[in-house]
Amino acid sequence: MIFVPSWPKDMEPLLTRYVREPNCFTLDFYLQHEGYDGLKKALAQTPEQVVELVKASGLRGRGGAGFPTGMKWQFVDRKSTKPRYIACNADESEPGTFKDHLLMERNPHLLIEGCAIACYAIGAKVAYIYIRGEFFHVQHVLEHAIEEAYGRGFLGKNVLGSGFDCDIYIHRGAGAYEAGEETALLESLEGKRAQPRNKPPFPAVVGLYGSPTAVNNVETLANVPLILRHGAEWFAALGPEKNGGPKLYCVSGHVKRPGVYEASMNITLRELIERHAGGVGEGRTLKAVIPGGSSVPILMPDQLDIPASFDGVQKAGSLLGSAGIIVLDDTTCMVWLAENLLHFYRHESCGKCTPCREGTDWLHKILHKIESGVGQIGDLDLLSSISNNVAGKTLCAFGDAAVTPVLTTLKHFRHEYEAHIREGRCSLPADWRARQPVGVH
């Protein structure tokens, strides 16, 4: 069992410091370690001051887009007569991402405290935690923690005697990647298909039940109590400029020690992969890295000496996204990889926008054809043509995400595609793949 094996040397872990303690998820343990101090400090200030503090800290959304959280809260329409809501996005479904799972399982009160502070800051009385259906065991932990928090007056009516009311409810999803998109999440919460809405209006103005809503990722909300406890300057100083605070990195794929690693965003991708995750297996060489979940462009081995920050990775031509780092060694066939990911996107496309619904299906069909050895050279242009007709032509970012694996593998590994077509077979069949080619589903 491999589990947060070592801390990067440049920083003490903050979010995952106690995750290996046997009773770290209990309220008593949490209270012994500064638990709910952030909420107390928040309640002693005005909601506007809390928003200003989070703005000053520079906290950026950990769900993928990296949008400043304080700004998001400030945009919440305070003049509206409708109730306001916090929706916590715990629908962690991006391939290669598993950080929120760890946080909720091992440090549930940190998330609950973050939700309560967020509610106070935007003037909401109710927060919904939308958790993916597959995290049933995590849901039990959260439910128990919420019950504990109600029991000691951290939630419910008149929180800690401040006159502030706050309820947190868990809403279980039922298996839809698209529910991780903020407006699709709200649709799903309203009891409909998880399909995105047209933006604007943004959820901050018209969100859940037509009310002003802030949708925040689990890790984002978990950072909020730290800012309240130790201040905005302290938080901002933890990483490079505009990339402050602790960050959880998920390293998986062909590495010796896959797992969640917490570090400041000063750490480089190479350090994370080689020093902490142990690098690729014996006798293997590193072929490529997907740095931020399956939806972002590939980085080559010579591009890894960059800070693993939102801005650092973007400068290198990719995105940090949800910090799901997938490492690929030299046994990986890049055409197979694109086919595998397009199978995912084809399955998860919600079907609302035609370019994405039809495009992902065609891309998968063509990739499957090439991988099975019956591709033609003209298929490569067809792949880029379809991709360019999907990207930017859909309501949500799913379309752009879905074509990225195709465009990025075509850019860096066009020779592999050509070899498949020339030789009429997969030129890199690895022993970890199925012995029989997988049929079209």
Binding site: G96, R132, H137, A174, G175, K192, A194, G259, N340
Partner: protein, 201 residues
């Protein structure tokens, strides 16, 4: 009948692939589940009962294993929406079954990180051991095999979700023993998510 001499409407053309849902036996929640439903509905504003459709369907599935047309009508009545609204939701989300499934639903993650660590081989072994394809149930009604997309346990790949529990670090050579254990010991055979395991120690 065809208005076009060369187009055979009816036979091949205009044939919808949509399958009507099985009506199933008449459906109503047990008293205990109805009480649970009533507490769940309280979480949402009174004019937004529809929000409880996912939990309501989970309760149906908990009671009879899968979702039928009759149960959808029942849920629609409880929530004050149309049966079509409920079917819309049921057919969209992957965790609702519209056909009976085996006692153990084996959902093997097939997305990248699991695949890089041999998930395809695991599925292949299960297929061979049970003589079924993905999406099918074996003859005894014990196992249903599904290939699902990313479960979010990429550091413990490959992972199989068995009903609601996770079985991690699965290797092709472990499959036979896992299936035998499930047959004899039921869900007690599962190790669960490693976070849970560590906590029990």
């Amino acid at each position: 009948m065809s208005f076009h001499p060369k187009m055979a409407y009816g036979a091949t053309f205009h044939k919808s692939s949509r399958q009507l849902m099985e009506p199933g036996p008449p459906f109503a929640y047990t008293a205990e589940r109805l009480a649970r439903f009533e507490t769940i509905v309280q979480r949402y504003p009174p004019d937004q009962r529809r929000s409880a459709v996912l939990p309501a369907l989970y309760l149906v599935q908990d009671q009879q294993g899968y979702i039928t047309a009759n149960s959808m009508r029942y849920v629609a009545g409880l929530l004050g929406i149309t049966p079509a609204d409920v079917e819309d939701v049921v057919t969209y989300y992957t965790m609702f079954f519209t056909k009976p499934v085996g006692k153990f639903v084996l959902s093997v993650c097939r997305t990248l990180s699991c695949a890089l660590n041999g998930a395809e081989r695991v599925t292949e072994e299960i297929r061979a051991a049970l003589g079924i394809d993905a999406g099918e149930t074996d003859q005894t009604g014990t196992f249903t095999l599904l290939e699902v997309e990313c479960l979010g346990a990429c550091d413990r790949a490959p992972v199989i979700m068995i009903n609601d529990a996770w079985q991690e670090h699965q290797r092709p050579e472990d499959v036979k023993r896992l299936l035998d254990d499930l047959r004899t010991r039921g869900e007690a055979a599962l190790t669960g998510c490693h976070h849970v395991v560590e906590r029990k120690q």
